[in-house]
């Protein structure tokens, strides 16, 4: 009996120790004599890319160890939110632009004064100042650049009898291109309307009808969705649908694989997406041949194109922002090492690797010559970035408004709602009803 009891107690002890060991795992201290900085992000550019970058960094700065915590994008905020709740965690965190960064304002270090030597060369910083106000704390530093524009398939252009070196620049020219493409039985814009394809489209559209100040008013909520320029955004979304620019069945189409395949396979002429990150020039070039990829700004809206809607002064510019930004958490005891790491990411030689190995678009464009990439499409995008400083208004939106906009666009592009009902639903969501 005694023996049985002893065995039972031993089993219990082993199980308890195992559980404690499991919970204790991951609490391992960094190497002695070195500063360990932990970074949480979702590894845009791929895990291997970040491993290679960190390896180079640690070779150059042997006293700093970088540890990456890679989280799936869909779980990122829960994970980071958990650290925020406990008040301890990684030193550096990836910050998505605009209102998404502001959620963490209470736990982010003000970076003003810490990057003064390189600040003039950083592109698209505006959305990382708290409340978009440069007088307030600087919450994060972008390491790449992004913007919404249109890629076109040169092969489809040729088949439709269009000049592949002269993409449409105005709405009237776009109408003509759409007509020619539809005439050969193909679709114009391949749109993943079921999800984030709408974000890219509406960002380009907002730029057509709103000035930077008006876009900021969307954030300030001084303008109702049911009137003025906000309503014009919805009118413009409707107008391009009525003009036949959007592919059939866009409302239920995924970005990938559906819309992406449609464009790559030459079943659609245009794809509204990004200059960097995913669905960028490199993705298209690698999948359909660089000779077949063209890049253009969203066609410029002119007075009279939409009755009662005036074009924006930004209509012929790129909606641009600094992307893949990092913030330093207030609880970090390794701020200096974190700043060193982030400055390293922005160094011109590392920025080239961001492009060549990670598929990003560089942030530090003032210190780079685009000739390190041989593809002409890259040089085109590079010039746009150098010439633009316009913040896209979409970053002023809150998540429920985003979601509602996508859903109402689905209904609009299936003839199941009207412009006014769309606007009313957006306003309802804005008011939290």
């Amino acid at each position: 009996m005694m023996r049985k009891t002893m065995v039972s107690l031993l089993i219990v002890l082993v199980l308890m120790i195992s559980m404690v060991s499991v919970f204790a795992a991951g609490q391992v201290e960094g190497a002695e004599g070195k500063t360990t900085i932990r970074v949480i992000q979702y590894a845009g550019g791929g895990t291997e890319f970040w491993k290679a970058i960190d390896k180079s960094f640690m070779e150059e700065y042997p006293n700093i160890v970088v540890e990456q915590e890679i989280v799936q994008p869909g779980q990122y905020h829960q994970k980071l939110g958990g650290y925020v709740t406990t008040g301890k965690g990684p030193d550096i965190a990836l910050m998505e632009a605009g209102t998404s960064t502001f959620m963490y304002r209470n736990v982010l270090t003000d970076l003003k004064g810490k990057f003064d030597d390189i600040l003039p060369n950083i592109t698209g910083l505006g959305i990382y100042y708290d409340d978009f106000d440069p007088a307030k704390p600087l919450l994060a530093i972008p390491t790449a650049t992004n913007g919404h524009m249109v890629y076109y398939n040169k092969q489809v252009f040729k088949e439709a009898g269009l000049n592949p070196e002269k993409p449409p620049k105005t709405w009237a020219e776009m109408d003509a291109a759409v007509k020619a493409i539809r005439a050969i039985g193909k679709e114009p814009i391949a749109l993943g309307g079921r999800e984030y394809g709408v974000y890219w489209l509406v960002s380009a559209i907002t730029h057509q009808v709103m000035s930077a100040r008006e876009q900021a008013d969307m954030f300030n909520k001084t303008q109702k969705w049911t009137q003025g320029k906000n309503l014009n955004v919805i009118k413009a979304m409707n107008e391009i649908y009525k003009r036949g620019w959007i592919c059939d069945d866009a409302a239920s189409m995924t970005v990938t694989p559906a819309a992406q395949d449609m464009f790559v396979n030459g079943d659609a002429g245009f794809f509204v997406s990004l200059i960097g990150d995913a669905f960028n020039w490199k993705v298209w070039g690698d999948s359909m041949g660089y000779e077949n990829v063209g890049a253009m700004l969203f066609p410029e809206l002119r007075a009279g194109d939409i009755p009662g809607v005036q074009p924006s002064p930004l209509a012929d510019t790129l909606p641009l922002w600094g992307s893949y930004a990092f913030g330093i958490m207030k609880w970090s005891n390794n701020v200096d090492a974190a700043v060193t790491y982030m400055k390293y990411l922005l160094r011109p030689d590392v920025q080239k690797r961001f492009v060549l190995e990670g598929g990003f678009f560089p942030n530090n464009v003032n210190e780079l010559d685009p000739s390190f990439v041989s593809q002409p499409v890259f040089a085109t995008l590079f010039e746009w970035v150098k010439d633009s400083e316009a913040i896209p208004g979409i970053f002023y939106w809150q998540a429920p408004e985003w979601d509602a906009f996508v859903r109402n666009t689905q209904l609009l592009y299936s003839d199941m709602t009207t412009v006014n009902d769309f606007a009313a639903d957006m306003q309802r969501i804005r008011e939290g009803k």
């Binding site: 009996m1 049985k4 985003w402």
Partner: protein
Amino acid sequence: MEWARKHQGILLALPAIVLIVIFKIYPLINGVLMSFTSSSQGVGTKVFVGMNNYVKLFSDKIFLNSLLNIVKAVLVIPIFVIVPLLVAFIIHKRCWGWSFFRATYFFPYLLPPVMVGYMFSFVLGPNGPVNSILISIGLEKLAINWFGHQSIALFSILAVILWSWFGLGTITYLASMSTIPDELFESAILDGAKSRQLLWYITIPSIIPTIGYWTVLVTTSFFIGLFPYIFALTEGGPGYATMMPEYYVYLVATRYLDAGYASAIGVVLFLFIFILAMLQIRYMYTGSQDDV
């Protein structure tokens, strides 16, 4: 040592109790407590808001619409109960075509739901094989956008789910049917009973508790088991046409980042399922007692 010997049972159960408390009880209590807070003002910053989240729920059009969608889904539960029952009966009684069903019926259930979703988004897509076949046989009008129309999308998803789940229902019914004494069927056949009568007068009355069990399982799964299909097929769209409460919890928690409100929806959802399941189980129990 005497103390340890006396409490040996508790000590042995302790690891399991600790695990249940950590991974079941604590999250449940934490979820309920969280439903009285709001974190929308900033991630990690929780503010006590009392019953506000629950009050907001009942004026939230998206949530109310998701409940309406549940009601629509519940209307098709009889199909979810009857189809596997018929397939199980065909296999059990070796009716015409039984060998085909025996070889294939469980296969759909083995596929991961997300894979089923992605598969059918292609099969029933605007240019998918189903529409191609319909067009090729001159039924262009039926070649619609199955997941892209407000009034059809929900039922298209339910059809996919029926395809995916009926194997589990069939095997459940088959297990129950195997307990019915063969003599019952044999004597009924000697008396001239047809298949329909064997089903109606012998099989169904004999497996009523199993039918009840399957009905409860399907009903509760409509509340908490549709997520992967909706995620893969429509993400709750077009508009809010296929929005279900559990998908709304996901949206509010992960996209709107309002864990407090998401918890409140989760708690209400839990109460709905709990009450519904209790009612159904009580009915089942009463039914089986009557049989005895």
